[in-house]
């Protein structure tokens, strides 16, 4: 497998830095819509909307001054335009549940757009977009941009079950074919996204994926095996979202072939799928730059 260590050739370049720095604003919720198991929020945030690029995310403060939850919650940008940005939130723990409970008219402190966007597709390439769960939402803006640049776009949206699918209608308006998979068969084909991805990869010039780590890895591996560049938007636990805390790192192979613990908030969340050492996430391999100073020696 390429990407397992720094010596193999890589077919991706690091994702580009965003065109604009982030801003911090207290914004008003102007729309709220349940979407299956999720909640789509629209925020009046013109400065963020005009800066946002597909693949970037927002970081929300949770619960005001008196909240016991100090850390921001990162949520991918699902749409941006006309002064409004939208996000799709899955109520999970206390923070995302609070976010999903915001009502129209309430205000929330948000920092964004953050992170590196998906890079452009190679000229003329057909693109395959793969979204897992609410991860599909982050691909809608990308699909639109790719179409406007003249690319053909296919998409796969997968989830555990029908109620956890997302953005299928939006993607269907921009991409063809759009395949749906669910683990339990409650919608589309039964199985993981890979059942559809494997079929659709032929002829594809670039793959973009957003979703759970296991899915990203499967999609990246499938693409890399065929020599197709892939870009994955990872979801690592983040304390700051802006690059100052170093909690969100992953072992990523750089352009010089050396692996570093890279911050997924500012060096990602979009990484080359063949550059993330998925196997070593949560580990400290000896060949990560600076591992020696941690007392880790080559076996």
């Amino acid at each position: 497998m390429t990407g397992r260590n720094g010596h193999a050739g890589h077919v991706t370049e690091p994702a580009p830095k965003p065109a604009h720095p982030p801003v911090q604003r207290e914004v008003e919720v102007v729309g709220r819509r349940p979407v299956n198991a999720y909640v789509e929020l629209s925020l009046a945030a013109p400065e963020i909307a005009e800066r946002a690029e597909p693949g970037q995310f927002l970081a929300f403060a949770i619960g005001g001054e008196t909240s016991a939850l100090l850390l921001r919650r990162s949520i991918a940008i699902a749409g941006a335009g006309d002064g409004v940005v939208s996000v799709v939130v899955a109520p999970h723990g206390p923070g995302s549940t609070w976010l999903a409970g915001l009502r129209v008219g309430e205000r929330v402190d948000v920092v964004g757009p953050l992170g590196r966007p998906f890079p452009a597709a190679p000229a003329g390439a057909r693109a395959l977009l793969v979204g897992g769960g609410y991860g599909a939402a982050a691909l809608v803006g990308l699909a639109a941009r790719l179409r406007s640049q003249g690319h053909e776009v296919a998409a796969v949206a997968g989830a555990a079950s029908a109620d956890r699918l997302c953005s299928v209608a939006e993607l269907s308006a921009l991409a063809a074919p759009v395949e749906v998979t669910t683990d339990d068969g409650s919608a589309g084909r039964t199985g993981r996204v890979t059942v559809a991805v494997d079929e659709l990869l032929t002829g594809v010039g670039v793959v973009y994926a957003c979703g759970p780590m296991a899915m990203l890895r499967a999609v990246a591996d499938a693409a890399t095996a065929l020599g197709i560049p892939s870009y994955v938007a990872v979801e690592e636990s983040m304390a700051c979202g802006i690059g100052v805390c170093m909690t969100c790192v992953l072992p990523v192979v750089g352009e010089d072939g050396r692996t570093r613990f890279s911050r997924s908030c500012v060096e990602g969340p979009v990484f080359g799928g063949d550059r993330v050492r998925f196997d070593d996430v949560g580990k400290l391999p000896h060949d990560v730059v600076g591992a020696d100073a941690m007392g880790v020696v080559a076996p």
């Binding site: 982030p22 016991a68 304390a239 100052v244 500012v266 600076g290 100073a293 941690m294």
Partner: protein, 318 residues
């Protein structure tokens, strides 16, 4: 700066070096300053306290590196960083170019490491002084943390003070995880520390209810944020009461101007903002402004009038 608006003279000093305002970043909570630029005028801060640097580049620990806790967080980064060469080549010049003051945090596992770092930082442009992070395991003492032993702590501080640029004040950063913080403070002061940074994180642990194992790879981690503020204030209070002449850089859970005020009243002549930056990247400047406003509202003409004020008998208002 808001000096003009509120009329409060916010100037203070780190050791003998004057700084325009009392609010600094906290080591490890604002990296080397770059990422804060969209949110904060770095030159308006008292200083940028940089992430603790060691001699060699370090990968830091594997993830997960953090856990959120009630009004706080636990971290176990493992001092990921570029090493002193990287710092000198890239981060310090970047700050110096912008006119931002750097208060450089240094760390090591041997007394000589600290001394060598201090030596390397002599005369470096933009380096206002050194904060010595002694909350590191001492490899020569079965991994006991320097800051938990007055002797080990003072060994580090005297080596650093001897090696460092005389123009650069040297602050010792103390750990609250000790039976008697005043004795550690006294030891490092006697060893030549020009000031004290208080406090570093408290040692904590969180267990993941799903894996049923400690969340952090390193098992324990450092607890920070508003949750620890009363402990930090107590440490500042105790040390200022015992050694009122020693300058204190106070930190631990500062989130707004009133929090910063508490540290100043307890005896800190400057404060660092750490975890609050994760919640609000503009926190350091906001807190500067809020502190100026709350000092003005209480009739203080200058920050320095308020330092240690809570130790004076009630009724003695100035």
């Amino acid at each position: 700066m808001t000096v003009v608006e509120t009329g409060v003279d916010m100037r203070t000093a780190l050791g003998a070096v004057e700084i325009p305002g009392p609010v600094l970043t906290a080591s490890g909570c604002s990296a080397f300053g770059q990422e804060l630029e969209p949110f904060v005028d770095l030159t308006a801060l008292g200083a940028v306290v940089t992430k603790s640097v060691q001699l060699r580049p370090r990968s830091g620990r594997p993830t997960p590196r953090m856990a959120e806790t009630p009004s706080g967080m636990l971290n176990s980064i493992g001092l990921q960083g570029p090493g002193i060469d990287g710092l000198l080549a890239e981060d310090l010049p970047w700050l110096a170019e912008r006119g931002a003051r750097a208060f450089v945090s240094i760390a090591g596992t041997r007394v000589e490491d600290f001394a060598e770092l201090a030596e390397r930082l002599r005369g470096v442009p933009g380096v206002l002084g050194l904060e010595v992070n002694i909350s590191c395991p001492n490899v020569e003492s079965r991994g006991e943390v320097f800051a938990c032993d007055p002797v080990a702590a003072s060994d580090v501080l005297s080596a650093v003070r001897a090696a460092a640029d005389p123009a650069q004040p040297v602050y010792a950063k103390l750990s609250p995880d000790v039976t008697d913080i005043v004795s550690v403070a006294r030891a490092v002061r006697d060893a030549g520390a020009d000031g004290l940074s208080m406090i570093n994180t408290l040692l904590g642990l969180v267990i993941d209810p799903d894996t049923m194992r400690p969340v952090l790879g390193g098992v324990t981690g450092g607890l920070s944020g508003p949750a620890i503020r009363p402990v930090a204030l107590r440490c500042v209070w105790q040390v200022h009461a015992a050694m009122p002449e020693v300058p204190i850089l106070g930190m631990g859970g500062i989130r707004n101007g009133l929090d910063a005020l508490q540290f100043v009243l307890a005896g800190a002549s400057a404060v660092s903002v750490g975890t609050a930056v994760f919640n609000d990247p503009s926190a350091p400047v906001r807190i500067h402004d809020e502190l100026a406003a709350v000092l003005a509202a209480r009739g203080f003409a200058s920050l320095s009038d308020a330092v240690g004020h809570a130790h004076r008998p009630a009724g003695v208002e100035r």
